[in-house]
């Protein structure tokens, strides 16, 4: 009823192979984009920006990055926190070294630096597979954190060992520091998030994406039919780390403002992003958004429910959150290993047939 492709004829190859071939889908997507760009900036306030929108957008970028590596290329990584830290520290060094350059450039360059580091730590993936690789990426996580903790050059020899984002602008609008307006920071992150999603979506349905998926499904078979595993795996590591680095840079400069590396980018962060990808759906860009939204909203919702409504102590609510997240992950793996994205697909399928399911 709502969701029909009847009467929706494609006359060119381009229109047939676009991201949203169904008209209803396409308009919904435009409406969401228009709402996000034109309406939300005028109604957003500090609480909504800091508690929900900024973490959601930033984690969505990180989840897209990890989804490319784990969901599309099949290489499990537990080093996301470490790569986010690379993005944050690269951004910090660039911000302090070139104050006059736009933040936009800094964030992109930080992503580039992270991509290089990602390729370096991706090299062992050519020999090591499966669990062994997952554990090997822990080496990146712990080594990078230690490096940023111990080498004073990275935090500009500050006494506390923290890094603090100085005030920087984009087109004359302040985006970092305490005086940045909620709507500017939101728009800045939103631009990155939308671009990331577009790039990721188009990469994954092109040649590169196909070679990633071939490697994921069976790497030896892929090699035999002519996919170069070196290029496929390393490009997956590079692209994935680029997104993760961008999200780390935004996480530090826009969202937190000040970072202590051991706290902000610990192994817990790696797991959090991995959970977003699992709950959202491995190998789905929409899933990355759904997973990020879910795990950002869950603690907020639990806090509102437990602390504000029921009056429970915060530590009990925090423990409950662990229990619920753990149970949900197991639940999703049992009931729907393809995550929220698959539920969404099923819902769309149902909508197409409604109200005549037979």
């Amino acid at each position: 009823m709502f969701y029909r492709e009847a009467g929706d004829f494609h006359t060119t190859y381009t229109s047939d192979s676009q991201t949203f071939p169904i008209k209803f889908d396409r308009y919904r997507y435009y409406v969401v984009l228009a709402f996000a760009f034109l309406v939300v900036p005028f109604i957003i306030n500090d609480y909504w920006a800091n508690a929900i929108m900024l973490p959601f957008l930033i984690y969505a970028i990180a989840a897209i990055g990890l989804n490319i590596l784990t969901g599309y290329c099949g290489q499990v990584s537990l080093g996301t926190g470490g790569f986010m830290a690379v993005g944050a520290y690269a951004c910090y060094k660039l911000m302090t070294a070139f104050p006059e350059v736009s933040m936009f450039v800094h964030v992109l360059l930080a992503g580039g630096v992270t991509a290089l580091v990602g390729v370096l730590f991706g090299l062992p993936s050519l020999r090591i597979k499966g669990f062994y690789l997952a554990v090997a990426t822990l080496a990146a996580q712990f080594f990078l954190l230690w490096l940023f903790n111990k080498v004073p050059w990275f935090y500009n020899y500050s006494a506390s060992g923290q890094i603090n984002a100085p005030e920087r602008t984009v087109f004359g609008f302040e985006v970092t520091g305490p005086n940045a307006a909620a709507s500017t920071t939101y728009l800045f992150c939103l631009v990155f998030c939308v671009i990331s999603a577009l790039v990721a979506r188009n990469l994954t349905r092109g040649t590169v994406g196909r070679s990633w998926m071939a490697i994921r499904d069976m790497d030896i078979a892929a090699e035999i039919i002519g996919v170069n595993p070196l290029r496929a795996k390393l490009s997956a590591f590079a692209v994935s780390s680029f997104f993760v680095g961008v999200s780390g840079a935004l996480f530090f400069s826009i969202y937190l403002g000040a970072v202590e590396v051991g706290e902000a980018f610990s192994i817990q962060k790696s797991f959090l992003v991995l959970f977003m990808v699992i709950i959202g759906g491995l190998g789905s860009i929409f899933g990355s958004f759904a997973g990020a939204a879910f795990l950002v909203l869950l603690p907020v919702a639990l806090k509102v429910l437990g602390v504000d409504l029921l009056g429970w102590p915060t530590d009990i609510v925090a423990h409950f959150q662990l229990v619920i997240v753990g149970a949900l992950i197991i639940f999703f793996l049992i009931v729907e290993p393809h995550g929220l994205a698959q539920l969404w697909r099923l819902a769309k399928e149902k909508l197409r047939l409604w109200p005549f399911p037979h």
């Binding site: 499990v76 062992p124 020999r127 090591i128 597979k129 499966g130 669990f131 062994y132 997952a134 554990v135 090997a136 822990l138 080496a139 712990f142 080594f143 954190l145 230690w146 903790n149 111990k150 080498v151 069976m218 030896i220 078979a221 035999i224 192994i267 797991f271 991995l274 959970f275 699992i278 029921l310 009056g311 429970w312 102590p313 530590d315 009990i316 423990h319 409950f320 959150q321 662990l322 229990v323 619920i324 997240v325 753990g326 149970a327 949900l328 992950i329 197991i330 793996l333 049992i334 290993p337």
Partner: protein, 336 residues
């Protein structure tokens, strides 16, 4: 004999002791991986859960007391009794067996036949779940673990071993600092390994366990119950987790960081190979000695210290590049 050499010798000895403790955690991993192909990330949290349960039972804490107080507005904390250590250990073993049954019944029975990576992620979920339950049950504050087996005697010894100190002072003119607890842990680990090997070689269940590890379907066809074996294996892993939890808990207090030893056990497994019990022990010793010696020789003097955080992983990484299946692992054969 130079002073540096004597120091290095002491560091090596301490590294060996630490390695034994790593191996103790790694053993639990190997047991489950061999029998069911599940890479159990929750092993560290199981150690935490076991140690917290043990302390909670010994102190007579009311389980979920914080939660009950928050919901019903009561003020419960303790039953007001103390359970003797042996009984408490027995009760904790029962709890771990129950846990093993629940894990098998509610999680992995539904995931039979899934890809290994899905099972691995399920155990990460299990780790979060268990951690939350442990904190809800017993509270998240740091607890001290003092175990005395027979009333006042038979306690876990703590502090420097005087004999070794005196003997080495006589030999080298410098007394080694070796913790009594580490020595005990080494002895316990040795007993545990011998017991495990004896169990798997000489008992009916042990043979069934090895059969399942070899080939699930063949084992099924000769009438071995897979469900029973998996519950058994998870119980054994729970028991190993309890022993590891007691040793680590007595060493550094029962607290959240206990669950992080699972992360330390991972490079041990990679080095030793996921499927080999001797591998877990040798890997543990190599990692223990390696990280302590590296910190002593290079980390502390030149790199600003705290290299123990990452050295094990990097060592395992470099090692795996040359031998992807670990030291004692089965050769990886891939077919298209």
């Amino acid at each position: 004999m130079s002073e540096q050499f004597v120091f290095a010798l002491e560091v090596t000895l301490n590294g060996l002791m630490a390695g034994v403790l790593y191996a103790l955690v790694a053993l639990g991993f190997v047991l489950i991986y061999k029998a069911s192909g599940i890479f159990n990330f929750a092993q560290g949290v199981m150690a935490l859960f076991a140690a917290m349960t043990l302390v909670g039972i010994m102190d007579g804490q009311v389980p979920f007391s914080h939660l009950i107080n928050a919901i019903f507005g009561t003020d419960l904390h303790y039953f007001g009794w103390n359970v003797p250590a042996l009984l408490a250990i027995a009760l904790t073993v029962c709890v771990m067996v129950l846990l093993a049954w629940c894990v098998q019944r509610f999680v992995f029975r539904h995931l039979v036949g899934q890809e290994p990576i899905i099972l691995f992620m399920a155990t990460i979920g299990l780790a979060y779940f268990l951690e939350g339950v442990a904190d809800l049950m017993w509270g998240s504050e740091i607890k001290t673990l003092n175990i005395c087996l027979f009333g006042e005697s038979g306690c876990l010894p703590q502090g420097i071993n005087e004999t070794i100190d005196a003997v080495t002072y006589e030999w080298f003119g410098y007394g080694f600092f070796i913790d009594n607890l580490d020595i005990t842990a080494t002895i316990v680990a040795a007993i545990l390994v011998v017991a495990l090997i004896a169990f798997s070689q000489y008992t009916k269940q042990g043979r069934a366990l090895r059969a399942v590890a070899d080939d699930h379907q063949a084992a099924l066809s000769v009438g071995i119950s897979l469900n029973f074996i998996w519950v058994l294996v998870w119980s054994l892993a729970g028991f190993v987790a309890l022993v590891a939890g007691i040793m680590w808990g007595a060493k550094s207090g029962v607290q959240f960081s206990l669950s992080l030893i699972a992360l330390k056990a991972l490079p041990v497994l990679m080095l030793g190979g996921f499927t080999s019990i001797p591998g877990a022990i040798v890997g543990g010793l190599i990692i223990g000695v390696g990280e302590k010696l590296f910190e002593f020789a290079i980390g502390a003097p030149f790199l600003g210290g705290a290299t123990e955080n990452w050295f094990a992983y990097v060592l395992a990484l470099v090692f795996l590049v040359f031998r992807p299946q670990g030291l004692f692992g089965e050769k990886i054969i891939e077919r298209v």
